[in-house]
Subunit: 250 residues, 2 copies
């Protein structure tokens, strides 16, 4: 499994992903699921991936044209004129990879090898944009009403995102919020695991404003993880107490 | 969809279920998913259901032998000597109903019409017990390490249960905790809906200690629902603040 979140704020985009991949519970590895490409001063593009690892690695390789020799490669991510076209191209490669692998495996391939992606970035002269790309190659874009996307194991960490998100929040608060969301997910699903990758795309900066790997020993993450239990307990006790048979609760 | 939780405390068992059923998003109804049978002074047994409604209604009807005329019926739930046997019998009826409907529908029936159940109760002279029953008819029992079961849409509401549960808690606090868990689920999945049914099985009482339907207009539920957002925000701000590039954070 996987957990990745991309979140649009007024001041830019914050991305976080875990790094655990598993084939069954007895075959666990660490793989990077967050990638980025930058032309300093002109564009920054990041892709996060969830789903079949062979599929997602193939898409990333094809985006970079790694099947060609280095001098023959042209990375379309660095050349496409708009983020919309980046999403179209990524979606096309994803759909082709999923469909090819499925059809090569015939009846057994049906419904397998799927993956989804989050594409985020900004190209000079345009707004920062955030897309979620489906295995079918189509995609949706984040909006004022739906300002963040999750892929992978999305449910455990969603309630706190819904309650805690604020478009005006600082990057620091956004990272803190994401850490709480990831901690809830890590505690509930073994197949999502540390370390985490985090990146901040600051509006009009065109290079990673912050980029960090959060290891299992990270002191700040550990303080959030342990502090959140106490904080939740305090929050819980601050709610009005229930009593049986009170008026209107007959 | 559905959301039901059964939770074992030192002083008894607390049960909560939603009441929304849907066949697509354009066909929504209210159906009771929590049932109970009591012999005052001797036993109390409750069943909560998730999954295919025709399947679960059929199982409940068969438990009560509603296919027979009233004078011929013998409700096995009121006669079986132990809660374990109640779980066995419920599981058997569930498996038969699922398998029969699947086989009657041939190829198209595969993997469909499934349901799962939570069985809770106490019979005099024995401990209160809580079981989760799978569509295959087998089941597991709650333990000291895993003292609550969820069925249906389990993920959104799970983190707060994990953090908030305490075996010694009062029934009132348990209901409050369940309301927070249900509120998080209701906010994230439209196919889980109010009203909620709540029941308390108090140890050695053999009849519902409390039983209540919580309507959408319930003042206490509304105060939890709105208060939890503020409480979470306060909890979030009580955590240490993140800062980029602090020592140990690269």
């Amino acid at each position: 499994m996987t957990y990745c979140v991309g979140m649009v704020l007024d001041r830019g985009i914050v991305l976080m992903s875990d790094t655990r991949t598993n084939s069954g519970v007895d075959n666990i590895s660490v793989f990077r699921k967050m990638f980025h490409w930058a032309v300093p001063g002109e564009r920054i593009i990041s892709v996060m991936t969830a789903g079949n690892l062979a599929t997602t690695q193939s898409v990333i390789s094809r985006l970079e044209e790694r099947s060609k020799t280095p001098e023959e490669r042209s990375n379309s991510l660095l050349e496409l004129p708009t983020m919309f076209q980046v999403a179209v191209e990524t979606g096309k490669l994803l759909r082709e990879t999923v469909q090819d692998t499925q059809s090569e495996n015939g009846e057994q391939g049906k419904g397998r090898f799927t993956a989804s992606m989050i594409v985020a970035g900004q190209i000079k002269g345009m707004e920062p944009r955030l897309f979620m790309i489906y295995p079918e190659g189509n995609f949706i874009e984040a909006s004022f009403d739906t300002p963040f996307f999750q892929i992978g194991e999305t449910k455990y960490g969603r309630p706190i995102l819904i309650r805690g998100y604020d478009r005006n929040m600082s990057f620091e608060d956004a990272v803190k919020l994401l850490m709480v969301s990831f901690d809830s997910t890590l505690k509930a699903n073994l197949s999502v695991g540390l370390p985490l990758d985090m990146m901040v795309i600051e509006r009009d900066k065109y290079e990673p404003a912050h980029e960090q790997r959060i290891e299992a020993t990270d002191e700040y993450f550990l303080s959030v993880s342990s502090g959140w239990s106490d904080a939740l307990r305090t929050a819980f006790h601050s709610l009005p107490n229930f009593s049986f048979g009170q008026p209107g609760n007959g």
